[in-house]
């Protein structure tokens, strides 16, 4: 008798536990309002990334096409993957001295791991992260970017 009661109890408790599980899924089925799916390419316009989001490294330029990069090469040394390469040139300053300046700040997005060491260690805060996250391109060469815009100058007062 004991065993029959146990047997029935086992069945009823088992079914009860299954029903509890079904309650969870069922309650979500009848509450479509809880769905959190984002329809991604359609909501591109109102998709706001967090301001600290590490999309890609950029060099902010002001409206006079000036940047803060002095070409010191600290970011190049600090990059663990060698994704930054700095090609410098020597220019003549106004008072006739020879000075090292940046020619090209080459950034290989395909090798970047977004560790933020370059942005962090830059002594003149010349680098920043943009919120751009759609990096897919058809040609791999497009992932090698030159961060300083053509014809850009070093901002006044930045050493």
């Amino acid at each position: 008798m004991r065993s029959i009661i146990d047997y029935l109890k086992e069945i009823i408790l088992g079914v009860w536990s299954l029903l509890k599980g079904m309650k969870v899924t069922g309650s979500y089925f009848f509450r479509p309002g809880t769905i959190i799916t984002q329809k991604y390419p359609n909501n591109r316009k109102d998709l706001v990334m967090f301001d600290r989001f590490k999309g890609e490294v950029v060099m902010p330029h002001n409206e006079k096409n000036e940047h803060k990069c002095t070409g010191c090469g600290i970011c190049e040394i600090n990059c663990p993957n060698g994704s930054i390469e700095i090609i410098s040139k020597s220019i003549l300053t106004e008072d006739g001295k020879k000075k090292r300046a940046i020619d090209k700040h080459i950034y290989r997005l395909s090798m970047c791991t977004f560790c933020a060491l370059c942005v962090k260690t830059c002594p003149s805060n010349a680098l920043a992260f943009s919120q751009e996250f759609e990096h897919a391109v058809f040609n791999r060469a497009l992932l090698i970017k030159t961060l300083n815009k053509p014809g850009s100058q070093l901002m006044k007062g930045v050493e």
Binding site: K20, G21, V24, T25, F50, R52, P80, T113, A116
Partner: protein, 374 residues
């Protein structure tokens, strides 16, 4: 003699060898298990690893200490923040830098958030291993909330790189405390649903109770740490035994069971999520003021010697062993990764169970393959 040889061959002929992986839905990555079966019974499991071996230990020997941080993210990508912390703590210990309380508290909160999100993903994939596909979506849905907190503060979701030797990369975001509190409130309400859906389910009980038993002796001998080891009664919580960061200031209990089967490995992790929420709640309202990073030298050079630091990741004990020769890059770095050790027990505990149990046992050990391979 001849008869004996004959017997061996017939035994081998009866074995049915299947390759689980490198691409298989239940190995969660590129792990290959060569499983010998007799019918449905597992005779032996031989893990074959190395499919994503990147030689992180070798790479560390040629880069500087701050650069190591971003490699450790990629070992156990689910405990990325804790791995970062391990290296930072080792470097700070070697340099004997005093870390302000603010950094310690933030690190602890982030570690516990990391632990929760890791366990959520584990719960999701463990449910999927057992065939409950709905678990996967619920787990990921809730994990998303933590990842958003990470993204707001650290700038990235999974591979956070938030630590640096001497402190943190940035200060916490102004919204951080509010969001964490919101999350805790939300997750305290949601976590019982996990129990209703999976833990209380009679099918789940049948599938997990008494499966893959690991005794305390074996757990210690195999070095199984983390929730898997604690389910066997192995008190191995580094947060208790060798407190780092702010763990010495807070109250929490170590989740310990004695049974050591799949079910208790599962319950240990669910309980750890509750415990992590308790830890966060103790800290989130009293983050002390202060700097978010200590000024370090531009080139960090560790004094000559050997340094070992243990931390508790979501999967067990991570040890960072650095041998320094005084240069700016380490002479030798060894990561004692918890998953690598936990994998070694798979053959021992899966033997004699069915192939479906092997999947359940593998899921309950919570293996992250890049951490095994490094």
């Amino acid at each position: 003699m001849e008869e004996k040889v004959k017997n061996i061959t017939t035994d081998e002929q009866q074995e049915y060898v299947i390759n689980m992986g490198p691409q298989h839905p239940s190995t969660h990555g590129v792990l290959r298990l060569v499983v010998s079966l007799k019918g449905e019974i597992v005779k032996s499991v031989q893990p074959h690893i190395g499919y994503i071996h990147r030689g992180i230990e070798k790479m560390c020997e040629s880069i500087t200490y701050p650069q190591i941080i971003h490699l450790t993210d990629r070992m156990d990508y689910l405990s990325a923040h804790i791995n970062n912390e391990a290296v930072c703590l080792t470097v700070e210990k070697a340099l004997e830098v005093e870390i302000p309380d603010r950094i310690k508290v933030i690190r602890t909160i982030m570690s516990e958030l990391t632990r929760i999100q890791s366990h959520q993903l584990w719960w999701a994939s463990f449910g999927m291993d057992l065939g409950g596909l709905t678990c996967f979506f619920y787990g990921l849905r809730d994990r998303e909330k933590i990842l958003d907190i990470f993204e707001e503060t650290c700038g990235s979701r999974m591979i956070v790189s938030y630590n640096c030797p001497g402190g943190l990369m940035y200060d916490i975001h102004p919204n951080f405390q509010k969001r964490v509190k919101e999350f805790i409130k939300y997750f305290r309400k949601i976590l019982p649903e996990y129990d209703q859906l999976l833990s209380g389910n009679v099918i789940f009980h049948e599938r997990s109770k008494g499966i893959g038993k690991l005794t305390l002796e074996d757990a210690v001998s195999y070095g199984i740490t983390g929730p898997s080891g604690r389910a066997s009664g192995f008190s191995c919580d580094v947060r208790k035994h060798e407190p780092y960061s702010a763990y010495d200031k807070i109250k929490f209990k170590e989740i310990l069971f004695t049974e050591g089967d799949t079910y208790h490995r599962y319950i240990a992790r669910i309980d750890e999520m509750w415990e992590s929420m308790n830890i966060i709640e103790q800290l989130i309202d009293n983050i002390p003021e202060g700097p978010y990073a200590v000024k370090m030298k531009p080139v960090i050079k560790l004094p000559e010697g050997e340094y070992y630091q243990r931390v508790e990741t979501a999967r067990g004990e991570l040890g960072v062993f650095i041998i320094s020769d005084g240069n700016k890059s380490p002479y030798r770095v060894k990561f004692r990764s918890p998953n690598f050790v936990n994998l070694s027990v798979l053959n021992h505990i899966a033997k004699g169970f069915k192939i479906a149990d092997l999947v359940a046992i593998g899921g309950s050990l919570d293996l992250v393959i890049p951490d095994i391979d490094r």
